[in-house]
């Protein structure tokens, strides 16, 4: 059996009396696009923060490519190939779009190489036209794209996307879905937090469901759509009905 790209076992994080992430275990293999869903406050962003070293775990184990990464500082985890975008958008607001992305590129490149790489990535995600604009002057959807570009410039093996499709139009969502798929085909693995269920069902091959910090389901979109606990906690009876009537084709 091959070593999974990411293996999380019995991961727990407490904030005072609150258990934000409770005994969560799962694995992600290279080349997957995994969705992480659940109601607000279920612990999705906290889980991302634990994986990327923003907070240390209270207990449990995180293995990236077979090596323990729990409790490491964020920049060391980034160097090993895992980074994330920020749900509330944490760009360098006074810097240009290009400079934001260049900063990510410096992880593995000299400054001139990081500049070249950043320009290529801006081209790829369709931000070249606004490369010289100050990040603080962008609209929210543009900022989310810069978040993705900056994270991509660190050359991640595993990229955690935290609600990058929030506030996008359906057409823009299609673009992001296509982008993530083509990046996956080139070797990047994704875990995606998203509230837009249609987009999640379309993009992801496997879903993890968190509720009150606990992992309550792990399976294909079809399995999750039929799962009683998930319907009760998150999807709601309506979704289950329409979903059962017209199953989403998973690719």
């Amino acid at each position: 059996m091959t070593v999974p790209l990411l293996e999380v076992s019995h991961l727990t994080r407490r904030f005072g009396g609150l258990v934000a992430v409770n005994d969560v275990s799962f694995r992600v293999d290279a080349g997957e696009i995994v969705g992480l869903i659940g109601p607000n406050g279920a612990g999705k962003t906290t889980l991302f923060n634990l994986l990327t070293g923003v907070y240390p775990p209270s207990s449990g184990d995180i293995r990236l490519n077979g090596e323990a990464s729990g409790g490491l500082k964020s920049h060391r985890i980034a160097r090993r190939g895992m980074t994330k975008t920020f749900q509330n958008v944490a760009l360098f607001m006074e810097s240009s779009v290009l400079d934001n992305v260049v900063t990510g590129g410096l992880l593995h490149n000299s400054l001139p190489d990081a500049r070249d790489k950043a320009r290529r990535i801006l081209d790829r995600v369709g931000l070249s036209a606004i490369a010289d604009v100050r990040a603080g002057d962008l609209s929210f959807p543009e900022r989310a794209r810069v978040e993705v570009a900056r994270a991509l410039c660190t050359e991640p093996k595993l990229l955690l996307l935290d609600e990058v499709m929030a506030a996008l139009t359906p057409a823009e969502m299609e673009e992001v879905i296509d982008l993530v798929r083509s990046l996956r085909d080139e070797g990047t693995t994704f875990i995606v937090v998203e509230h837009h269920m249609k987009a999640v069902m379309k993009l992801c091959e496997r879903l993890l469901v968190l509720n009150f910090g606990e992992l309550i389901a792990d399976g294909t979109p079809e399995e999750i759509g039929r799962n009683e606990r998930v319907i009760e906690a998150y999807l709601g009876a309506n979704f289950a009905k329409t979903h059962a009537a017209q199953p989403v084709e998973a690719t």
Binding site: F92, L106, L107, L111, R134, A151
Partner: protein, 334 residues
Amino acid sequence: MTTQRSLFALACAGVIVMALLPLGLDPRGYEIRILCITLLFASLGQAWNIVGGLANQISLGHAAYFGIGAYTSTILLKLFALSPWLGGMIGMALAVAFALLLSLPTARLKGHYYALATLAAGEAMRVIANSWADVTGGPVGISVPYLPDGSLWMMQFPTVLPNYYLFLAALVVVCLIFWKIKTGALGYRLRAIKENEQAAEVIGVDTYRAKLIAACVSAAITAFLGTLYAQFQFFFDPDTIFGVATISVKMALIAILGGVGRLSGPLVGAAFIIPMEEIANSYFGSSAAGLSQFAYGAILVLVILLNPHGLTALFGQISARFTRKGATRDRSIA
């Protein structure tokens, strides 16, 4: 590219003007001494700008490095007749060691907490210099031994003119170092720390390391400027060399007033603050001791309330209004 080139031309013109300026002045006079101090404080403000400006680590303890440099070279000159160039380098090494030591408790601190911790470190050095009289001479101060046949090697000269050119050369070097850092990979990392430290970490910036490197470079420069100051003044005491208002706050104020994080900021700040202070001192004399400290506080509050980007940004905004350039797309103020 063209703006880069015109900036370079402007900088060269500035250096030439500054090089010619003292030729019309009395080399033993009062004006040239004020120009020397202005150049020195422009360099000090620029050294502070590396940490305070680029990374927004507001240090109020840089007098510690300045005093370490001044005392180290002076004591070594006194005891072993060691050239201040060598003594100054030893002072730089000691200042870097102190910066490393200081980073252990302060690296995780931000904002006010960092400012207060560095302030305390500077004060600790003042107290040590006052009490360790065997080495430092204590509160009565220390004199640099005067060598009648002065030379460049011993950094002593019959007039102030060579000091002036030494200070000008130092300013050019410090500005080049600042520009190199600002436009290089370290500059990107420091700006990332300034604008969002957590995001910087997550995309792979070793924030501790970047801050540490910046602090060490800043400390080393400040220490050598301390040596230059000692060889210029020939006398200093703990309260002035390690002073909060005389050195630490003044360094920060000069960079903040001029324009924090900008190359031109400390130059403009020093050109404004130092002559103003001299005029105020000669006008009010000793009847208003401590007035300058009060003025620093007032200026700092005004800058932060009226235009946090400082005087250089203000000039930029005014000229933009006149040329109507960038009136619609004023996204960055160069």
